[in-house]
Amino acid sequence: MLTGKTAIVTGGSRGIGKAIAIELAKNGANVVVNYAGNEARAQEVVEEIIGLGVQAIKVQADVANEAQVKELMQTTIDTFGSIDILVNNAGITRDNLLMRMKETEFDQVINTNLKGVFICTKAVTRQMMKQRSGRIINVASIVGVSGNPGQANYVAAKAGVIGLTKTTAKELASRNIIVNAVAPGFISTDMTDELTDEQKSGMLELIPLARFGQPEDVAKVIRFLASDDASYITGQTIHIDGGMVM
């Protein structure tokens, strides 16, 4: 159980982030729902969490903006007094073939998906070092391990997140801060709804468990990594992909 713990979920207003926020709340954590733009959807998540009997607030912040991220951390500390769990989930896609990918498309994805994790991790570490405890869980992607045509920017960012996870885990282990990543495969969300039926059926053939994942499949692993049960696991990347990449 995570009773009394405080969790921040970046990009927590929809998709996998929303499922993570709700799963942590179901296990007793108070949750800060960070969002970039969609205040109404963030508010819906906050209300759903409050309905579960724990506390929640929403905080707008661009994870790639250091000043805004510092505000996010300060607001969390002012409201709940600690930050026990940070889930770096916020992410975007700007898919294109490498030969057609614009530099801006590359930069945008690297900024949010990789640099954003760096900025949020750096900002939360100050508090977690003082506490002498903390959990950081990064949402990478299975394509960061396997590669994926049309996603050079996204894959580069997610592979970067996996490396960042390992280094952060090594640097902060002596302060009892545990850092892990999850690498979801094909999970049904708004992001993957954009794929064509042909792309979807092609992917299904690659999944030994022969079904797509649900956001809850990812959320439950993150809940485990955030719990005391996972206290001897750090620097790892857990694949949640139905066996697609082994």
Partner: protein, 78 residues
């Protein structure tokens, strides 16, 4: 209010778990007080809180001895 050196010393003794007598103005954090680089980062954080100031990363990197820290804080306090 206690002298800057005494306040800095108290934090160092507490954080690095070293004997008071070892904390002199000349003592190097890494060589004499057995602090690793993360310890120094943490000390700087504590000093920022104690003296209610922000020490920029590029300035923090120049703090090698107890005296560096004390003098930096004194200079900022004017």
């Amino acid at each position: 209010m206690a002298d800057v050196f005494d306040r800095v010393k108290e934090i160092i003794v507490d954080k690095l778990d070293v004997e008071e007598s070892k904390v002199t103005m000349e003592a190097s954090f890494k060589d004499d007080l057995e602090a690793d680089s993360l310890d120094v980062v943490e000390l700087v954080m504590e000093l920022e809180d104690e003296f209610d100031m922000e020490i920029a990363d590029e300035e923090a990197e120049k703090i090698n001895t107890v005296g560096d820290a004390v003098n930096y804080i004194k200079n900022l306090q004017g």
